[in-house]
Symmetry: C2
Subunit: 154 residues, 2 copies
DNA sequence: GTTAAAATCATACTAAAGTATGAGGCTGAA
DNA sequence: TTCAGCCTCATACTTTAGTATGATTTTAAC
């Protein structure tokens, strides 16, 4: 059975040929008794088997596929903000200092930051001073601007 | 000439058939005088034209091209700052006030802004106070944050 | 369990920022 | 030209920010 399956096409081909020849023989004896019948048959066979060949080619040959890869450019907005952790580490900014820095960037006063973080005003002052030292600035506005440029706050 | 060019394949096909028939006729008369010669010829023609068909199919069928569109992500620096002039007008911010606001956003102190714009410290204070009024804030940091959110500074 | 860094808070101070008010000069539109 | 809006600057003041220093407590690492 596996033989038949594997050679299906070949068998089919042979069978087609045999059947065709039988049909032609039958026609030769019983119907067509004309001049140049051989040429007519030959032409018919040629046409038929050309068609068969074409069909076979399409059936058997692997689709000639040319894979055209077209790169479609998709504009992706740069993630507005990806924290530059390396920079944070390099500057030695602590967690609390980052929180204070972020709050400053939000435009809060030291008093407001103290309230937000449940700390005293003096503590905020200490933290912010540390932040300024590490960022090498003197003012919160400058600190915020620099921090933004260093991608350590949004 | 154009006719020939256009029908090259058809002409070639017809010519092949004609030549083949001539060869066979010649063979029939001069060499092969065997039993069942018709069947042999028929088989030969079948084989030949099947081959021709396959060849034709391969020659004629256009390569099936698969176009694969690959989306290539291109990171675009979202230079997405377009000054919201409408907002500037709505808030009634003047040219000078905008300059001062911009300088504040750059982290400059009032003194530095005065130097940059060749103005006195007091003038800067006046301008900044006006800006705070119009933006309804009390501090420069808050003003900068709000201005950024309103797209009136980068 | 010692130790260093981080976090908290305080006091005392200086510097800068912000407010309030007024005034003079300039400019463009009615 | 007059008048409103803008720009400039000043004085006087209050508030907030920032610095310096020191102390105690947490936290995490060794």
């Amino acid at each position: 059975m596996r033989f038949i399956a594997r050679n299906q096409t070949v068998l089919l081909y042979g069978a087609s040929l045999a059947v065709l020849l039988l049909i032609m023989k039958w026609l030769e004896w019983h119907v067509l008794v004309i001049e140049h019948s051989f040429e007519v048959y030959a032409g018919a066979i040629a046409l038929l088997f050309t068609a068969l060949g074409i069909w076979l080619a399409n059936k058997l040959t692997r689709a000639k596929s040319t894979t055209i890869i077209v790169e479609k450019q998709v504009l992706v907005k740069t993630k507005d903000f990806v924290l530059n952790e390396a920079e944070v580490v390099r500057l030695g900014l602590t967690k609390r200092e980052m929180e204070v820095l972020q709050a400053m960037a939000d435009g809060l006063s030291n008093q407001e930051i103290a309230e937000r973080l449940f700390l005293s005003l003096n503590t905020i002052k200490t933290h912010s001073s540390k932040v300024f030292e590490k960022l090498e600035v003197q003012r919160r506005t400058h600190a915020v601007d620099k921090a933004r440029k260093l991608n350590i706050i949004p």
